[in-house]
Symmetry: D2
Subunit: 336 residues, 4 copies
């Protein structure tokens, strides 16, 4: 019979349950054999139909022999402890973003992984798995549009949860573009500005919209409109300007309706509509890399650290209005 990857999931909240659904009902060759959650009742409820073991806490789950690999889907403040434990146990770990809540915590994870000697950690930045972004990168890497010079992005949410604070517009929303541009252009972000346009009447107490400006080490300049209450739908846009041409994300509408004087197509309602497949591909490729015995195929600790550093700078830029320089440590050899 085929080998089956036995995964333990820490955190059975919204995203944890969605990943469990994905691992058990969408993707072939994976079993969820263990679940842990701060709420033991929830853990039991989720585990029962799977025949999975409920562990009293994440550390116990990581230690269990039956667990080949770990998914960390718990609250961000707990990520560091679980990721460090997984590294200590030598087990591959997929950690939902953020890798950890501070730059220092991220660096501790990087240090632990470097000490371990090989990469075990993947961070949940799923844009890299979206077919459209991959097609952008393929055109860029083909050289047909020449060297990249700028990228224009927009990240628009119809609305955001009530808990959103101003810095969440950076750390929860813009962070996707922060990771994406590092991957797209293969270069670190060296400075950040946040400009504040007129505030939307839909904004509540948030600074909304924002214009984030990212300067890369290779001098590519990226601007990102962040709008988190745009009402009309979820809209992710991007165009790369190269020396000889551009490549852009197109509206992914499958159909068009002509009715009442208009030719109209649908706009995705939220990130699930837009990125559902990217999440599937992300965990598929992660599981395949783990099953294959290699390092995780996707963004690792270093990317989680870099995203944290840039996000910190962007939050400071949002507060001060200044251009904030970003300094990242030297990249250890295992991440190159």
């Amino acid at each position: 019979m085929r080998a089956v990857l036995r995964v333990g999931v820490i955190g059975a909240g919204l995203i944890g349950r969605d990943h469990i659904r994905r691992l058990t009902t969408v993707l072939a060759g994976i079993d969820v054999v263990a679940v842990a959650d701060v709420d033991a009742f929830v853990a039991a409820q989720v585990a029962a139909p799977l025949g999975a073991t409920v562990h009293p806490n994440g550390l116990a789950l990581i230690a269990a022999d039956e667990v080949d690999a770990v998914l960390v889907c718990s609250w961000g403040g707990t990520h560091e402890e679980y990721v460090l434990a997984a590294i200590a146990a030598g087990k591959p770990v997929f950690c939902e973003k953020p890798l950890a809540t501070t730059r220092e915590a991220c660096l501790r994870i990087v240090a632990a992984e470097v000490a371990h000697g090989r990469r075990l950690v993947q961070v949940g930045y799923m844009r890299r798995y979206d077919a459209a972004y991959r097609a952008l990168k393929q055109v860029l890497d083909s050289g047909v549009i020449g060297a990249p010079l700028m990228m224009h992005c927009a990240h628009r949410n119809a609305g955001v949860p009530a808990f959103y604070e101003p810095e969440n517009t950076i750390t929860d929303t813009a962070v996707h573009e922060i990771d994406m541009v590092r991957w797209m252009f293969g270069a670190e972000i060296v400075a950040v500005r946040v400009l504040r346009p007129r505030v939307s009447r839909n904004a509540g107490s948030l600074p909304d919209p924002l214009l984030l400006v990212l300067e890369l080490a290779n001098e590519v300049l990226v601007d990102v409109e962040i709008s988190v209450n745009v009402r009309y739908g979820y809209d992710i846009r991007g165009e790369i300007l190269g020396e000889d041409g551009t490549v852009s994300l197109e509206n992914p509408g499958l159909i068009a309706v002509r009715h009442a004087g208009r030719l109209a197509g649908p706009v995705p309602g939220d990130w699930r509509d837009r990125f559902a497949t990217a999440y599937d591909v992300e965990l598929r490729e992660w599981a395949d890399s783990v099953i294959g015995g290699g390092p995780p195929a996707g963004p690792g600790s270093w990317d989680g650290y870099a995203a944290a550093v840039v996000s910190d700078a962007a939050v400071r830029a949002l507060r001060t209005g200044d251009r904030v320089a970003v300094t990242v440590d030297e990249r250890p050899a295992i991440y190159s």
Copy 2:
């Protein structure tokens, strides 16, 4: 542990191997436990990495206790025998198109299934699982464009295999539209015409392109351009005209490149590019319906029979140039 659907696959050619790949490496909760092929060496080669049993022939595979459900992917001439055997064994069977090679053979399958008392057979018409066609149908069924009046389709292949004979343009190519329009409009096709435009210099000895005209029982008129050597790519088009508006398939390009005086997006190269996800969804939903114990969710024997009858009529229309009326038997109650 979760229940796993144990599938036996008859026929390990191109499509059979692709379905085995799908069942074992893409879709969760399915095992391929048995394989049979006229070429025992091929069967063994395919079965080995799966730990599946090789059966000397399809009938033995169908009879095996370990096989919960059967996939028939062998040569069309063998379909009737295997589907009838699966019905006799009371096992769900997914049969690649065509259901059988003659109208009479299809009717024998229908009769056997009716005698069995409930539906067991699904036929591999995967257009019904394509997200874009489903979105078309959703708009149509919503009533926003009013009652349907016409549909314009084009089915274009960059090229076709060397074995293509003139009637394959109907039975292998146009048959997808034949099934699709029956499903889209919930009505039988009652007459067929095939018009012959100027022949392409790329056509070899085929009549290419063709204009197929389908009349439905509800008077909806459908025209289908069939081009099988169009060189530029694989292009599937459709627009439904309703009383108050239209709904159309859009070009599914994810990106656009501006370069050298043009704004360009990609066209799919072949049916795999265009319908890969539809095949996944097709088998996912089939497996779910089988696991759930209900009848197969998709097109059944009756649809396979109706497609055969219309295809026969279209082949005759192609040969004679006449309008050919289509007569289907009365639909047994289990198919309504």
Copy 3:
């Protein structure tokens, strides 16, 4: 000072007044110096602000020395008389469609023009002046898509005037495609079919929609959906299938609005929205060819005759349901 073309306009109805507006307030270098209408009061009203002379009838207008060229915008039944008079007077004449109401009348005009020895007549088929159709033709003529094989068209009106009779769907609506395909492919239409789909509840007593199928002498096959009560707007579609590719009319929307879950652009409301510029270009090029002393640049008597013959056949095909062959006389040398 520059030469000014002095035009006399026969018929001051809707289209006549619109052409007068065009000649006097849009296009440079043209004066409307004479007007005639069966309603002398209307003629006077239109002529006054222009300082134009009112003539008691079209023949008097044609005869007037001050009139360099004639526009015939009167009722179709009068066209033959005025066009023949203009030819007799040796004056260039632009005649709104139809050239005349019968095949025989058209042939008399052709004969008169042939006897005169050079072309004087242009007929108002303005599709040939539309930038999008011209771009289609340019791509086709470039050879990039190979030889043409088929064309798919749709001609959709939001609604039509109360006077519309069934045959108007051919003679007033489809006639634009009839002329367009003759020009596009440089070939005569040799047979016509009209298929009748389900009738729209918006159709009143009209057969609506229709599918017109045109066979050309070069074996190109053209299908034209004619819908004259489609409610949602005015929509003109066309795609040419060549051996190696296709070229199609795109939706001419200038802007897109993202709002309330949709990405939408406008659809033209009527033919004025869609073809306003084509009318301007049509009369501009006609006037330039007249000022230049050459034959009219656009469709001539022969095209008016051919359109009449094909329209007659299509009306018969609509009534009978048969495929109707079209026979045109030999084309006189002055039209080649």
Copy 4:
């Protein structure tokens, strides 16, 4: 006979000759009766076929009785003198951009016009006459997308003339967006930043591309990518973000070609392709307003002054890298 507007044109260079062509061969009801140019030979050559009088200089032309209105198409350094002379003569004057080469010169023109008591001057900012920009503004003004918050623009030239200096990227290129946003949002620009991305290898000695950031008095924030050597074509982009939706310029392609694996439409080659009609409409509406005896319908001295002030600030921002505040004087009543 109709009244004809008699126009004198100062400057018979490229743009002057193009406007003369437009006035005499495109637009109805206008005569070019007088021409002046520093090169008397050129003036004579241009005037001869028109039967126009050649004047020894612009001032003589302005003074001529036969000249109802003046077009200033000469070198920018001469604009002030001619516009002031036209105001002194009480004659309507259309001045190509820039109104004058310094802020002070613009203010002198404003002062002269205020002293004269009514508006006589229009400046040649033709974006306001483009159908697509007008449609943007119509949607914005309709309120459907809510109050405007941001606008994203790109202004891309395939290449620029050899004389281009760094500041021309602002004063000749970005100035179109500077005027457009003032008109679009009905608000003054209060601060300017210019960010410098990686420089294109096609840039020669120019800073190319640039990201211009404009802050408006109503807090709308506008970013403008300026690329002047983008090779692939001329591309003008714009999207307005409102509180509840967006409106964007669409690619104005009339046709699409499917060929060799791609679905492609044309990109305009240069500003003539893109804005030819806008120039026609601009002069048409200007002439109509002059013939009607009212003030010029389009952008006036105040707009020319404001564009100059913002351009100055942007040039300083380009040189220094700083955010430069813009201060405009109080707007005299005749411009409100």
